[in-house]
Symmetry: C2
Subunit: 262 residues, 2 copies
């Protein structure tokens, strides 16, 4: 293996860093807002401010996509919207199923941000027979018995799990067996999936715990710092050093079921 290359053969295309990919949706949103206000061009400085990052980072990020800006001028808003959308795969239609239609599942189904991108809620699935047929966000809930058929009929490759923790792994297994290869998991469980399946996890309580850590820290520093030094500095989107990102890897098991009662 010699000196060590990346583990990913990198399909010869470009190798866009994960950190950059994670920010593309931020840029896209800021750009969409500008587009709606019919702003023709933006500088990296302006766009970075709108997206809450610094301009050097933004320019570096864009440099991985190619040279879509004009020196001395900035970026063409419409063109960039298109390029980023294409890069993210949002120019195609992504049918998505949401499994577990409790409060969270309903919130997701109602979430406008999905439809406005390339995502289409193809089906809502719940294990509770009483839910079957009931419309949520205008879409009738279907029973989980039909999960496999629904996946196949709609050509779904992305599934969202919003079930209680205990149901998550079985649901995940069925989704994967039916052909789903990307999963967004809201249940507080580590999901086991075969190679080639992507799992991303959003864990509400983990975020709070990270905040608590920093909060505790602040309380301790108050005593030590005293004068507070730096003064105002204030408010331009990005808060402090600590406002970084979210969790990593997968999440563990062993907690109260939580959302989606009945």
């Amino acid at each position: 293996m010699a000196t060590g290359r990346t583990h990913r053969p990198a399909t010869r295309s470009r190798g866009i860093p994960e950190a950059t990919v994670a920010r593309l949706p931020l840029y896209l949103r800021a750009l969409t807002a500008l587009s709606e206000r019919s702003v023709p061009t933006v500088s990296s400085e302006e766009l970075a401010a709108a997206a809450g990052v610094n301009s050097a980072k933004l320019r570096k990020d864009f440099s991985y996509l190619g040279s879509y800006g004009t020196r001395g001028v900035g970026y063409d808003v419409e063109y960039l919207v298109y390029q980023i959308s294409r890069e993210l795969g949002l120019t195609q239609d992504w049918p998505v199923v949401i499994v577990g239609i409790g409060n969270l599942g309903a919130a997701l189904a109602n979430y406008g941000g999905f439809a406005s991108r390339g995502f289409r809620v193809a089906a809502l699935i719940d294990a509770d027979p009483a839910m079957a047929g009931k419309p949520v966000a205008g879409i009738p809930v279907q029973h989980s018995d039909d999960l496999e058929k629904i996946i196949e009929d709609n050509g779904v490759s992305i599934g969202v799990i919003a079930t209680p923790a205990g149901a998550a792994q079985p649901v995940c297994d069925r989704l994967v067996a039916a052909g789903v290869t990307s999963i967004l998991n809201f249940a507080p469980t580590v999901l086991s999936v075969p190679d080639g399946v992507d799992v991303r996890k959003v864990d509400l309580s983990i975020e709070l715990q990270i905040l608590a850590f920093h909060e505790q820290r602040k309380a301790g520093e108050e005593a030590a710092a005293g004068s507070d030094g730096a003064g105002p500095a204030a408010a331009r989107g990005v808060s402090g050093p600590a406002s970084s990102s979210t969790s990593a890897d997968q999440g563990p098991d062993g907690d109260v079921p939580a959302v989606m009662p009945a």
Copy 2:
């Protein structure tokens, strides 16, 4: 500003890396599960598997907290639970307010994972007068007119924003003015906050967009790869390279309001 040092003086205490802090809740959950099953000790290997990370990373993480393990044996479950809880600040009580009681806010209020840690939902706040007094998860919703008083009376320092995008910044400003110094933001907006206030953001549609990127990638590689190379490898919690983490920094504005209709 001279040659440029770190922006953070680093309070001399310990400097636990952000990446490690973000994983502590994962370990804590896995440990809590073991504790409930009365398992007395775990090896780094076992615990890592349960948390969905690799053992080297786990050991390195724990090394920042101190030497809490026993060579040749492993870690004492109860002791570790206590140490991590303390480190995260979960041994104290954190009163939390949730602003915006739509589907998402209700899901959060019902989320068991909060109460089981040091978090206590001190109040639910909504701008809709029709919601006032209505109990959600056993807690009566209060009108946002009383936001400042509620914050002060309960000594709240952590606020959760689950309002539509348009309401997020004003709500944020009022929370901060009333003394909140940590905010968990579910609205798709970049929040401006003064220095010293932490903001973490969870954005549902961003996660989906990142999945879409990788999904698109897979489709492209299928053609190129063919043989698939590596074979099974399969399924032990952590999926592939791409299952990494979530978004970073803050999120931008300019999207459909989303959750919390009325």
